[in-house]
């Protein structure tokens, strides 16, 4: 246990320089980019004196280094700052939008694993058959498809031509989310409020965006699961199990898959950042009111504090997920802790 705690402590310490480097890059890039948040904020008609006053008020007239030190001080106090455009705490829009993105990402992850792992296992079991060939072809094709294109295609086929699923938003147009929204996680909110009609509607709206994300990333897991399963299925203990007459299903799912899952869990941590990046594009395609859309809008408006805040939250979130994955990995494979 002590070793695991020491391992977790070490991983947490590594998060600090990672966020620091990322934040420094974003801070500098934003300020050397053309575009002025004060002009964006005040509209086109403010006199120069008003602009200068506003810049001084926001600290934008200071040297970049001084602004950077101020911002780090602010972050150290746990304050992400104030939005320059909407003049509200940056944490407000982030806390409003983050649950939508997490909900979508987690559902995408479920779809991704739900498709990738079973298909990978099947491909390994049916090696060099039509099944194997078909599944590998699927994995290669979806791996190559950009997530926004996948979204548009699913939207056109299942949303427009077949009219089977909604194409935009988190709830139906006639469902007022304000009536049940408490945490921002609509699945949880509708469950706890006992509003099962709204729950059905929420799940219905999640189908296409979650499948868009999940299918696109499932190719990696198909290939990884197949490769690992092929190795494991050749192991002596699998051979021994079969020789003892253990049913094939139990051999594959009870013994082989458990061992093949270790690299898959590692990949899961690495792919989480890809899922979040995919969520940004998917949110735009499906008018999903999450962090991705917020980030894009604020980039256009040069809202420095909000952009920086979103990057920090993304970085922390990815680090947190990676940490959990690593801890799970360390628990199930003691060699990692050595």
């Amino acid at each position: 246990m002590r070793r695991i705690l020491r391992y977790v402590g070490g991983r947490l310490l590594l998060t600090v320089p990672m966020v620091f480097v990322l934040l420094t890059m974003v801070f500098v890039v934003l300020r050397v980019m053309p575009g002025d948040p004060v002009s964006a904020m005040l509209g086109g008609h403010a006199p120069q004196a008003v602009i200068d006053k506003k810049k001084a008020e926001l600290g934008l007239d200071k040297p970049i280094l001084a602004q950077y030190v101020d911002y780090l001080g602010q972050l150290a106090r746990g304050d992400l700052g104030d939005s320059m455009i909407l003049k509200e705490k940056v944490s407000k829009p982030i806390s409003d939008k983050l649950p939508a993105t997490i909900e979508l990402t987690l559902c995408g992850l479920v779809v991704c694993l739900g498709l990738g792992v079973p298909l990978g296992v099947r491909a390994a079991r049916k090696r060099r058959t039509g099944h194997d060939f078909g599944i590998r072809l699927y994995a290669n094709v979806v791996y190559c498809i950009p997530v926004f294109w996948m979204g548009l295609m699913l939207q056109m086929i299942f949303g427009v031509f077949l009219d089977a699923f909604p194409i935009a938003g988190r709830v139906g147009s006639r469902v007022v989310s304000g009536e049940f929204d408490r945490t921002g996680f609509y699945i949880i909110d509708t469950l706890f409020s006992g509003n099962f009609e709204a729950l059905g509607d929420v799940l219905y709206h999640l189908v296409l965006p979650a499948f868009t994300l999940g299918i696109t990333l499932s190719g990696v897991f198909v290939r990884l699961t197949r490769a690992n399963m092929l190795d494991v299925l050749k192991s002596d203990y699998v051979l021994a199990s079969r020789a003892r007459g253990v049913p094939e299903r139990a051999v594959v799912y009870g013994h082989a898959l458990k061992n093949a899952l270790i690299p898959i869990i590692t990949m899961l941590g690495l792919q989480f950042s890809a899922l979040l990046a995919g969520a940004i594009l998917t949110e735009t395609t499906f008018s999903w009111p999450g962090m991705g859309r917020l980030l894009l809008e604020r980039i256009y408006l040069r809202d420095y504090p909000t952009i920086q805040g979103i990057i920090v939250v993304y970085a922390l979130f990815v680090s947190f997920v990676s940490l959990i994955v690593d801890v799970v990995y360390a628990i199930i494979d003691p060699r990692v802790r050595l």
């Binding site: 053309p34 575009g35 002025d36 948040p37 002009s39 964006a40 005040l42 509209g43 086109g44 008609h45 403010a46 006199p47 120069q48 602009i51 909407l86 003049k87 509200e88 407000k92 829009p93 409003d96 939207q155 949303g159 427009v160 009219d163 089977a164 699923f165 909604p166 194409i167 935009a168 938003g169 988190r170 139906g172 147009s173 006639r174 469902v175 007022v176 989310s177 304000g178 009536e179 929204d181 099962f196 009609e197 709204a198 729950l199 059905g200 509607d201 799940l203 219905y204 189908v207 949110e283 735009t284 499906f286 008018s287 009111p289 859309r293 256009y300 408006l301 040069r302």
Partner: protein, 516 residues
């Protein structure tokens, strides 16, 4: 798969159920965004539209027209000089919070707006010197000078709409209704806001205490879409009842032909124009400004870029507005290459030494068609070998900074009026102060004097003569070149009626209704 089948089944039930309890609920889709939920700081088309339905002015517009009629005030008097307006308020009105509406609320609102100095505060501070409470139901506006169009500002500009002093903070702009006492927007309009989720939904319910025509639809849900294509699909699938602002030209074309959709095409006071930097660029020379204006072929780009959906504009004052002329058509014409070449040669340019310049556009602020507009205008300019154009673009924040920094010589801009008067289409661009804000940097003392005169005059003959003169002179000085006047398109399901959006751009939701 079974789980998904269950989810689909459940959703079908939800939708079926929705259809039953949706009686009296209209879902309105838009790609616009709400900004600050405070009349003292919001300065954008869509947020104003919401305010125009949950609040009201002392005066108001007759729906779909430019006729100013009594609003929260039953009458008003103007002194002879035209710089004092005294309003008699209606008796017994209450805000949706239950607070009685009095003259104190009117004064408090104006004073607050001045104190907060938000983006639209100039609409008050440029005109109003003081507001005095004469008695609980009488309030007097003392202006800085005679202002002929003051009633239109009181009727249409939300900063003038009275707020409840017991609900709104006096020293802070309200970003989100959750910051208010009881967490809801409070007003005196036909609707009250009951739910607000930025970029997702705004829910309005009929205000039972409204003094005027009662809304015909009990609940209006405004849904926010990230893009026009998704909004179009939602309308075609019946997920929304009405879509307004902004569809792509191809979507407008397709929806107009859709038998299940009703199209309302309305002339709007939104204009687009080419702005010239008249101060530091090559365009300091008005001959070059005239030459480029002559080369613009309005019917051509309107057809190629907008599929004929807008109207060519030949004056900064849009057609349909009082005193509007079409002087650019007469003086410079469309695609007038011969005149342009004559002007360019007089300025010293030739085939060997063409007039080379950058034409700037912003790729998303005015929609996806902006790049096409820039390409077509470039081709029109280059119909003469005496002109060589390089197209450049910058995102909106950068674009605005560049026009302030005088880094762009000629660039595309658009204009939604603050108030419905030709003054707002002329002085805002060619008056010395307004011109700086729009990056035109044009200054002419004679024109400033003319604008001051028209602003102070309440004699329509005098104002007509002044505006006709300035529109004629515009073709000589060409501080800007008018391009087109935007038409507004509202698409609804067949059972929606009552869409009335006049030249004021005010969309009165209480006129909407469902037909059988």
């Amino acid at each position: 798969m079974k789980r998904f089948a269950v989810a689909i089944l459940m959703s079908a039930l939800v939708l079926a159920g929705g259809a039953l309890f949706a009686q009296g609920t209209l879902v309105y889709g838009t790609t616009e965004k709400v900004t600050d939920m405070d009349t003292a700081n919001a300065y954008d088309f869509h947020t104003w539209e919401i305010f125009q339905n949950i609040n009201q002015g002392l005066l108001t517009y007759k729906p779909g027209t430019t006729e100013v009629i009594p609003g929260l005030a039953e009458s008003y008097l103007v002194n002879d000089k035209g710089d004092e307006f005294t309003f008699k308020l209606r008796k017994g009105l209450k805000f949706t919070s239950g607070t009685a509406f009095t003259a104190d609320a009117v004064k408090w609102t104006i004073d607050r707006c001045i104190k907060l100095a938000g983006d639209p505060s100039w609409l008050i501070t440029d005109f109003v010197k003081d507001v005095q409470v004469v008695d609980p139901l009488t309030v007097k506006f003392i202006l800085k000078g005679p202002t002929a169009f003051f009633p239109t500002m009181v009727a249409g500009c939300p900063p003038y709409f009275p707020l409840d002093p017991t609900v709104y903070p006096v020293d802070k702009v309200v970003k989100d209704p959750s910051e208010l006492k009881d967490g809801a927007l409070v007003g005196l309009g036909p609707y009250k806001a009951t739910s607000f989720k930025r970029d997702e939904e705004v829910v309005l319910q009929a205000n039972p205490g409204y003094y005027g025509a009662k809304p015909k639809i009990a609940k209006i849900i405004i849904r926010y879409f990230a893009d026009a294509t998704t909004m179009r699909l939602a309308l075609e699938k019946g997920e929304i009842d009405l879509a307004y602002k902004s569809m792509n030209p191809s979507d407008i074309n397709d929806l107009s032909k859709n038998a299940k959709i009703t199209t309302f095409k309305l002339p709007g006071p939104f204009i687009r124009y080419l702005a010239f930097n008249c101060d530091v660029s090559a365009f300091k020379d008005k001959v070059l400004r005239q030459a480029l204006s002559a080369l613009v072929d309005r019917p051509d780009f309107n057809q190629k870029v907008y599929l004929g959906q807008n109207a060519p504009l030949y004056s900064m004052v849009p057609q349909g507005m009082i005193y509007a002329t079409e002087d650019f058509k007469k003086a410079l014409g469309d695609g007038n290459v011969a005149l342009a070449e004559k002007l360019l040669k007089s300025a010293g340019y030739s085939k060997d030494k063409p007039f080379a310049f950058d034409l700037w556009y912003t790729p998303s602020h005015y929609g996806d068609t902006e790049v096409n507009l820039a390409e077509v205008i470039k081709a029109q300019f280059e119909k003469t070998p005496l002109v060589k154009v390089t197209i450049k673009s910058a995102e909106w924040a950068t674009y605005k900074q560049q026009w302030r920094d005088k880094q762009m010589g000629v660039y595309f801009l658009g204009w939604y009026p603050d108030y419905i008067d030709p003054d707002n289409y002329t002085a805002a661009f060619a008056g010395t102060n307004g011109s700086i804000g729009n990056g035109v940097f044009f200054s002419n003392p004679d024109w400033d004097a003319l604008f001051a005169k028209e602003q102070q005059s309440s004699d329509s003959k005098v104002r007509k003569a002044l505006f006709e003169k300035v529109q004629k002179d515009w073709t000589v000085e060409v501080p800007t070149a008018p391009l087109f006047q935007g038409n507004l398109y509202v698409f609804t399901k067949k059972n929606v009626a009552g869409v009335k959006i006049g030249p004021t751009l005010i969309f009165n939701y209480n006129e909407l209704s469902f037909t059988k």
